[in-house]
């Protein structure tokens, strides 16, 4: 795993994540979130999760974010809906006061772990064959449950979309 590439992708992911939560317009936030997902797909690739890297780009950066951007454009949001007059002081300070100590705690805990270099894995690790085999043998029940969940989501969205507010 090349350190330079990893640090570049990690910095890109975190920076575009920060850009996402600081944008005023949801569309620019969505686009930088796409960039964050693509950087994450690169990190997955470095971690030998090839199938997941492809799925991340196809499903997350492709399908899910396309849906989000589609809905943002569909809603025909006006300027006054976007400028919510969000104070950059109060809310953010409270959230940071809560999250920074927790983040420091998590980093401290991770640093305390014994150093764990990545073991060597075979060329098939993380490929579609190995993951697919696991998916259909040991994880067959969760897989079926997820398919049921997707069906439920499909039906639920149709029910929600048919509803009319009076």
């Amino acid at each position: 795993m090349s350190p330079l590439l990893f640090y570049f992708l990690a910095a890109l992911a975190v920076a575009s994540g920060l850009v996402t939560i600081t944008r005023r317009h949801p569309l620019s936030a969505a686009l930088s979130l796409v960039l964050c997902f693509i950087a994450l797909a690169g990190i997955y690739g470095l971690l030998a999760a090839r199938l997941m890297a492809i799925l991340q780009i196809l499903v997350y950066a492709g399908a899910i974010m396309a849906l989000v951007i589609f809905v943002i454009m569909l809603l025909n949001v006006r300027t006054q809906d976007i400028d919510l007059g969000e104070p950059i002081g109060g809310n953010v300070a409270g959230a940071l006061a809560l999250c920074l100590p927790l983040f420091a705690l998590v980093v401290w805990a991770i640093k305390r772990m014994p150093p764990h270099p990545f073991p060597a894995v075979g060329p098939e690790f993380g490929g579609i064959q190995e993951v697919g085999l696991m998916l259909y043998t040991r994880y067959a029940f969760p897989f079926e449950a997820v398919s049921l969940l997707l069906l439920a989501a499909l039906v639920g969205v149709v029910v929600l979309a048919k509803r009319r507010f009076t």
Binding site: P26, C36, L40, A49, L51, L84, L102, P117, L150
Partner: protein
């Protein structure tokens, strides 16, 4: 040499970025995308540990998380559309009728 800890710290940074966005923003869409950011941070953790242990189980869990996230996004966006039609605003502060 990159170890497991370096990647886990990146995942933690992404997760808390999502938490800060979720807590501090008022725009419904950005609150929504913060949740996506947190889900992805967890996915990165799973894939890192899968690589560290040399087993693909973590990647299978990530597969499930991606499927659940797709379902969540579909339902969530339908709800956002309904809410926007109902109140004509994206401000989450407008939806506090349940506030005790």
């Amino acid at each position: 040499m990159i170890g497991m800890q370096d990647v886990l710290i990146v995942a933690a940074a992404l997760f808390f970025t999502g938490v800060v966005g979720f807590l501090s923003r008022k725009n419904l869409f950005i609150v929504f995308m913060s949740i996506e950011l947190m889900l992805n941070a967890v996915n990165l953790t799973f894939i890192t540990v899968a690589r560290g242990l040399g087993q693909v189980d973590g990647q299978v869990v990530t597969f499930m998380v991606i499927a659940v996230a797709a379902a969540e996004i579909a339902i969530g966006l339908a709800l956002v559309i309904l809410l926007f039609k109902h109140r004509e605003t994206l401000n989450v502060d407008a939806y506090q009728v349940m506030k005790g």
